[in-house]
Symmetry: C2
Subunit: 408 residues, 2 copies
DNA sequence: TTATTAAGTCAATTGCTTTGACTTATTTCT
DNA sequence: AGAAATAAGTCAAAGCAATTGACTTAATAA
């Protein structure tokens, strides 16, 4: 009625939405179960055999699924299982960190096909944007070399960088992550690559990766506790990534901790348990070349400074796990880190015994805390997984109409 | 293929799901915007005028919406606005607390039509179940007296009680909330009333209420910080209530706090800022008759013990708000309490200044912290709002098929 | 050898949204 | 005053994806 006042409403849907959802459900089911026959899919999705047949036929023509040899399962006609075709789709993931940027190309099932890395010069986007675009271009070219029709089947570019996003920045980081936030990064990348671009923070990216190929595969409620330069939680709630009202949900590194006997000043969790805190503890320069390797050696040699940091950090993380369990009530918590694998593993081992929480249930199936991917590339992998997930995973928003029809 | 191994998959959808969703979207839009014409609805939902006309006609016949007088809005045919019919649906809400149980009847727009209360004898469900069923029956009869067709339009019974649910209970509460948890409450209520029954914890119920008629109305990301006998957070994420993997998300009262100078022992937030902590601070018996009124008087008279508790609790809650903002990144945090209104208000006023957090954004619209409903009946209201929401609000699960067809 | 069971297809039907033309009612322009 | 423009809303037909029920195929069990 009044065209001045904006009308708040959710979007409706139609048969296109229905069909899109059902396609996604099929793909998701194949991803989770490996291979399924049409009859299996019909039972699992509650659709009719005929509907499943129609959709599977479409998906096969689109090159997203293939049939396997028929299998006899007792009485009745043998079934023909289908599985996903890895080459059915590709995506590129980009991780922007303080000192380094990584790019990865993955396929529909999350296999990494290409990886490349470049150092980021200090000074933020002014100097870094070209490095990044070149890196993406490089990965894209390599991808075209190893996979047929890669360009045609490229569904998007996912970007992961440390959050939080969109704050009034008084964050005077010498590496100027803040500067990256003000820079029109997504627009620049979209223009420079011609791809759909989406952004997530590094903890969320880890969760995305764990969901596609890791410990959160097929789990509807999981939280990744990510120990990177900072600390964050990547949230999978109701089977979908949750980013919060402004994309900053899960920034548990910024939770303030009251002063305690051990730590007489108030501080954030991040100050006490992140890799940044480790570097400070060691008196190391985060930008030091080969730091990752040196750290690796120190951990392997049980360097006393590292050991003491692990003990202290594990105690904080133990608390963090209890916090996450209490607040999100997930089915499992997954520990991820961008540090050396051995460090992550030792940290993981130092965290138990877990504190009492509502996760102490008689009916548990998954462990309360498990070790996630320990590959430093997992953030980049998560970045690459995001466009795949957005294009193929069932989600509410995929059902809804995105634009009105010709006639109102 | 293999019938032994369960197949994990999401449910598909069909035209029924589409239609159900579109109906819900219309109702939601009318709830949020008060009144809208068919043309308005078509624009807002991105559906066609014709589709909207069909659905509105249905809804009108179902008695859920009515047309109002046509209004001229400039050039063109005048539009005919529609609004929700309060009597279009009803629900009953039940709050089970330690010492008291309350029941409420609400209509489609959340107006409270009947309220009734009864004392719960100690001893848990053995003694309490009959009291509760009688109370519900009483409310139901009263409702039938004040509203036509109430019985026919009753969509369900919502239950709210303190969580957490389903834990290995070593919780030796003399009022035996634990006993309630083991009692087949939902089954008993469903059998005794013939209604659909659903359960939520009290903080979630508060959020449900705030979402239907309060500060979270139309907000997609909001968290209710609920100060009751315990402390909890009610979560509205992506426009839907979030309950976690086991219905225990948001139990922030159970977050462990490290020992601090002020509090030399480790404890949960609940121990320091809940009404239970206030009763303890005052040396009051929570079961004392007329405690609510006495507390009201004490607060009004600025009783020193109460004032000191408010100061201490506010400090903990200030931290709690920062925690919520950091972890959930909501658009707003809403303070709710089951205590006397004046106490809630004073607590609310004592919490600022808020701690720095990612909620400190240049582009904020809603206040970081606002006061929710201060009515002690708001938990019961939220309980009653749940069936209404479940029946009429747009949600992913409402689109999906719930059972397979005749032919696989 | 025959009955039974299950996978999968075929052709027709159903049901909701969309389309495009049309009617109605009001304001604005000439 | 009359004509043109604009917007709300209806009508009847078309489009489209899932459903239905009968049918075919291929295996095991009796």
């Amino acid at each position: 009625m009044n065209e001045m006042r904006p009308i708040r409403a959710k979007s409706g849907t139609n048969q296109e939405g229905t069909s899109a959802h059902n396609r996604r459900v099929m793909i998701d089911a194949l991803r989770l179960n490996g291979q399924l026959s049409r009859a299996d899919l019909a039972r699992a999705t509650k659709l009719t055999k005929q509907t499943v047949s129609n959709i599977i036929e479409d998906l096969e023509q689109d090159g997203l699924v293939v049939s396997l040899a028929a299998v006899r399962n007792g009485r009745g006609q043998p079934s023909t299982p289908y599985r996903l075709v890895p080459d059915g789709a590709f995506a590129i993931g980009l991780q922007i960190d303080r000192h380094v940027t990584r790019a990865i190309a993955v396929d529909l099932v999350g296999t990494v096909l290409v990886r490349a890395q470049a150092n980021l010069p200090p000074g933020g986007p002014a100097n870094g944007a070209k490095v990044i675009l070149d890196l993406i271009e490089h990965v894209r070219t390599e991808l075209a070399g190893v996979a047929d029709q890669a360009e045609k089947r490229l569904v998007g570019l996912g970007v992961a960088m440390p959050g939080p996003f969109g704050l009034a920045t008084d964050n005077d980081d010498q590496w100027m992550m803040a500067a990256w936030q003000n820079f029109p990064l997504l627009e620049t990348l979209a223009a420079g690559t011609g791809l759909e671009v989406a952004l997530q923070n590094d903890a969320t990216a880890c969760a995305t990766a764990e969901r596609m190929v890791g410990a959160a595969h097929g789990i509807d409620h999981a939280v990744c506790l990510y120990v990177g330069y900072g600390i964050g939680a990547g949230l999978i709630l109701n089977g979908e990534l949750y980013a919060g009202g402004n994309g900053n949900a899960g920034e548990i590194g910024m939770v303030l901790l009251p002063p305690s006997a051990r730590h007489p000043t108030q501080a954030s969790l991040e100050h006490r348990a992140s890799l940044a805190s480790l570097y400070q503890h060691l008196g190391a320069d985060p930008a030091e070349p080969g730091l990752h390797e040196r750290l690796n050696t120190l951990v392997n040699n049980d360097d006393p400074a590292v050991v003491s940091w692990i003990d202290a950090a594990a105690e904080e993380l133990r608390w963090g796990v209890q916090l996450i369990e209490t607040i999100f009530d997930p089915q499992t918590v997954i520990l991820c880190s961008s540090g050396p694998e051995i460090l992550t593993r030792k940290l993981f081992e130092a965290i138990p015994p877990l504190l009492p929480s509502n996760a102490d249930r008689p009916d548990r199936s998954a462990p309360r805390l498990q070790l996630g991917m320990t590959d430093p590339w997992s953030v980049a992998l998560g970045a690459a997984a995001e466009p795949i997930s957005r294009a193929f995973d069932p989600r509410f928003s995929a059902i809804l109409k995105t634009r009105a029809n010709a006639l109102g």
